[in-house]
């Protein structure tokens, strides 16, 4: 087995600097938006007393779910002993931490009283899944950092047992975290779209998909940047297969969720609202989640050319999966709130507090800026870390040349041409 | 070596000297005037002044939990000894228009010291920083519902009106 080598990102091309500048600008805009929301109150957003969680929460939950899924590549390499994934384990851990921090930042800045963060971190009601999540999220950062340490520190990396233990701990913790995030909605009895145990496994399946999509996008972008083939053909094939399986898993859980609810007369109202009559929500569901977010990228994966030529298709498919993820969370979070609460089931109601009416929600610019800045924050953390420490894999000399030879159309008959190091 | 140390000491001394010169000598000649909170209206506070100066925040933090979670609002019924609105009532300082000033005004009792000490407080995000304007003439003494008293008053006025009318036309 060739020794694993890693590299830092030393040189930055002009397009990369432009990307960094874009992310910096977006983070600044997001922070400004958060300050604006805090000064003036939530009246400046599109949120109201019916739809209390808006676009920032969609982005935050998306990033947190993606974070737990991004750890999968590392888990697969240590917990499930798939050594082919080992070169990507460090980047996987880094991405997990970065995405989680981005998501948490958005969540905290959207609070009505973000100045009370210290209260949130010291006063707990342990019957609340939210309180458990605070521990799960912060613990995740610490555990993954320790996991990275076990991989990257020369002394620690010598102990296979330590690495294995950290891998198992991180994997278990990540499952608990995603279950906790799904249970935020699954535990709610009040809203008809929620109150379902399937939301936890649905979120786990979604985390696999979003996490891997983020990982693939970052790896392929970094491949361009380092001009290195960070993902050889074999890995591309594996990731392509995994993306397809995870997307089908999400589709399966989504189908079970909706079909089960449609079956019960009590829930038909909310399901028809989300799937047919609710205006923007069926549009976002069918066009956004199913069409653009599942069917189109699956087709791309299925019909893309094999080998490294299919790289662009896989990149595009990953981006589309992520858009589909945002759409899915929009329907779940916003659609679930927009449907009116049924205080008097079967009756027609009206009141000055808009009982019986579908919640109107139009996202305001500060919300969009805050939510998007979470993604930028995560990407900036990744960019900084890649420069400072060796997270990116570097294929050993022989293998790189072999892949370069294959790409040039030469056969594998000469596996060790010159041993030139790149 | 010794010259370096002596120079360092001299620099430190001059910095301290300059600092205290800038801060003022306590007579209000510096940039930030010393706090001069307005005199309160009541006879005495719930604790002595020096106790309050050091510990009012601890008293407030403890009492608020007692009040909100355990429902303890007063030790002497009829007074507001355990309520923040009681503090606000006594420590209200009138402004130019005669009405007590709110926390936005630098002349507010709490503002005087908190601005000087640069300690921001968020009490007045939720609590009124000045007493509400007096209620209507009927007022409320807390033992009889306003509505019932008003009802009785209306009834009484109606009956009096009837008596006056009788005298006028003799019926």
């Amino acid at each position: 087995m060739a020794k694993l080598a890693f590299q830092t990102l030393d040189d930055h091309s002009t397009p990369f600097w432009a990307l960094i500048a874009f992310h910096v600008a977006l983070v600044a805009a997001g922070l400004g938006a958060a300050l604006y929301m805090e000064e003036n109150g939530h009246i400046v957003t599109g949120m109201n007393n019916q739809v209390v969680w808006g676009l920032p929460h969609v982005f935050a939950v998306f990033l947190i779910v993606a974070a737990s899924g991004a750890l999968n590549v590392a888990s697969v390499s240590s917990v499930f002993n798939r050594l082919a994934y080992k070169p990507y384990a460090r980047l996987s851990g880094l991405l997990a931490i970065a995405l989680l921090i981005g998501g948490l930042a958005v969540l905290v800045l959207d609070l009505g009283r973000p100045d009370r963060l210290l209260v949130a971190m010291t006063t707990y009601n342990f019957k609340s899944i939210f309180a458990w999540n605070i521990y799960l999220y912060s613990g995740f950062v610490v555990i993954v950092a320790a996991y990275l340490f076990s991989m990257m520190d020369r002394q620690a990396a010598k102990s296979a047992a330590f690495g294995k233990a950290m891998g198992w701990l991180a994997f278990g913790w990540r499952l608990a975290l995603t279950t906790g995030t799904g249970s935020i909605f699954g535990f709610l009895i009040a809203r008809e779209a929620y109150d379902a145990a399937i939301l936890a496994p649905l979120f786990i399946a979604a985390s696999f998909l979003y996490g891997l999509a983020f990982t693939v996008l970052v790896l392929l972008t970094m491949s361009r940047e380092t001009r290195d083939e960070l993902m050889p053909e074999e890995m591309l094939g594996k990731f392509r297969g995994l993306l397809a399986i995870f997307a089908l898993a999400v589709l399966y859980f989504t189908a079970v969720q909706h079909v089960t609810k449609l079956y019960s007369a009590a829930h038909q109202g909310v399901e028809l609202f989300l799937l047919r009559d609710g205006g923007v929500f069926p549009l976002v569901f069918w066009l956004g989640q199913i069409g653009i977010g599942t069917v189109l990228p699956l087709a791309l994966l299925a019909f893309a050319p094999r080998g490294t030529k299919g790289r662009l298709a896989i990149e595009l498919a990953s981006a589309l999966f992520l858009i589909g993820g945002l759409a899915q969370l929009y329907v779940i979070i916003i659609g679930g709130q927009a449907f009116p609460l049924a205080l008097f089931p079967g009756m027609e109601v009206s009141s000055p507090a808009l009982d019986g009416e579908v919640g109107r929600y139009v996202p305001a610019l500060p919300e969009l800026l805050l939510g998007a800045s979470g993604v930028s924050m995560a990407m900036l953390i990744v960019a900084l870390a890649l420069r400072l420490m060796p997270f990116l894999p570097k294929a050993p000399a022989g293998e790189v040349s072999a892949n370069a030879a294959t790409a040039q159309g030469l056969g594998a008959s000469d596996p060790m041409p010159s041993g030139r190091t790149l | 070596m010794i010259r370096a140390r002596a120079m360092a000491v001299a620099l430190l001394v001059s910095l301290i000297g300059a600092g205290s010169a800038i801060a003022g000598d306590g007579s209000g000649a510096g940039r930030t005037p010393r706090p001069n909170p307005p005199k309160a209206q009541g006879e005495a506070c719930v604790r002595d002044t020096d106790v309050m100066r050091r510990n009012h925040m601890t008293l407030l933090m403890h009492q608020r939990d007692d009040t909100v979670h355990r429902g303890v609002r007063t030790k002497n019924p009829g007074t507001k000894d355990l309520s923040l609105s009681g503090c606000i009532g006594c420590h209200a300082a009138p402004g130019a228009d005669g009405r007590p000033v709110s926390y936005a005004d630098p002349g507010h009792f709490c503002r005087a010291c908190h601005s000087y000490a640069a300690v921001s407080i968020d009490c007045f995000e939720c609590h009124a920083s000045r007493p509400a304007p007096a209620k209507t003439a009927s007022g409320s003494d807390g033992t009889m519902p306003d509505l019932a008293r008003d009802m009785a008053k209306d009834l009484s006025a109606y009956l009096d009106q009837g008596r006056d009318q009788t005298r006028e036309d003799g019926r």
Binding site: H42, F130, M347, E348, V349 | G71, T74, G142, L147
Partner: protein
């Protein structure tokens, strides 16, 4: 003739004196905060000063929807005055500690108005989900928001099936002394806890007593209270009884 008139005016004067006396007696009976509907209740027995609330008491409401006229808004107006919230014209973000919901049965066309406020559930979902414990149930059954530790996450608003809680969307000024409220925290009906602690009635119940006496307030745990007797005589309906939250607010005529 003048004799008859004198005697008649004397009689009239006596009648008026009697009425005035009766009115005075009535006013005395109406104090301290005891309504006709609740004569014999125990809410006048306030706690000793400095004594904490106890679970021996459970405050509750009983609302007779049949006695609640459609055009009457007394409870809402009284709550607004007492607690300092108002409509700003934006229904979506305005507070609604109490509101009247117009309910119409599409099958029969029967319509009625139901005053809905926080139901002060014994198993309140808002209390379960609050991450800091700001949403809590006081020992005597009142569900409150401790706005000192509320971080404004709005999870309790997601969790409440009764739409009882709202977020304060704008900065607030000149709050009433008994109802501090501020931007970024969540609020809802407090059952006028400061008034109850002083031995009075909630503002909505008082206002309703003057208009139509559709609301009854009292200690559900005291078998001698009017509300406990009413509940024991005939079990009231609860909104969303299927959720089994054991609300402290019961309704007649739902």
């Amino acid at each position: 003739m003048s004799d008859a008139r004198d005697s008649r005016s004397d009689l009239a004067a006596d009648r008026r004196a009697l009425l005035r006396g009766a009115g005075g007696l009535l006013a005395v009976l109406l104090a301290p905060g005891v309504t006709l509907y609740a004569l014999g209740g125990t809410e006048a027995a306030a706690r000793a000063p400095g004594e904490a609330v106890s679970p021996k008491v459970r405050w509750g409401l009983l609302i007779d929807v049949n006695a609640c006229p459609a055009e009457c808004d007394a409870c809402v107006a009284a709550c607004r005055t007492e607690n300092g919230w108002a409509d700003t014209g934006h229904s979506a973000t305005d507070p609604h500690w109490i509101r009247k919901v117009s309910v119409r049965d599409p099958a029969s066309g029967a319509a009625r108005e139901v005053p809905v406020m926080c139901q002060h559930c014994a198993s309140a979902p808002c209390v379960d989900v609050c991450p800091t414990g700001a949403s809590f149930r006081r020992a005597d059954g009142i569900v409150l928001v401790d706005r000192h530790i509320c971080i404004g996450c709005r999870y309790c608003i997601m969790a409440c099936p009764y739409k009882a809680r709202t977020l304060v969307h704008e900065p607030v000024h000149d709050q009433t002394a008994d109802a501090p409220r501020g931007k970024g925290t969540v609020e809802g009906c407090t059952l006028c806890a400061p008034r109850i602690d002083a031995g009075r009635l909630p503002a909505c119940v008082e206002a309703c007593a003057a208009k139509g006496a559709a609301m009854l307030f009292g200690d559900l745990n005291d078998p001698n209270s009017a509300i406990a007797k009413a509940v024991a005589a005939r079990a009231p309906a609860r909104i969303r009884a299927d959720l089994r939250l054991d609300p402290g607010v019961g309704y007649r005529g739902l």
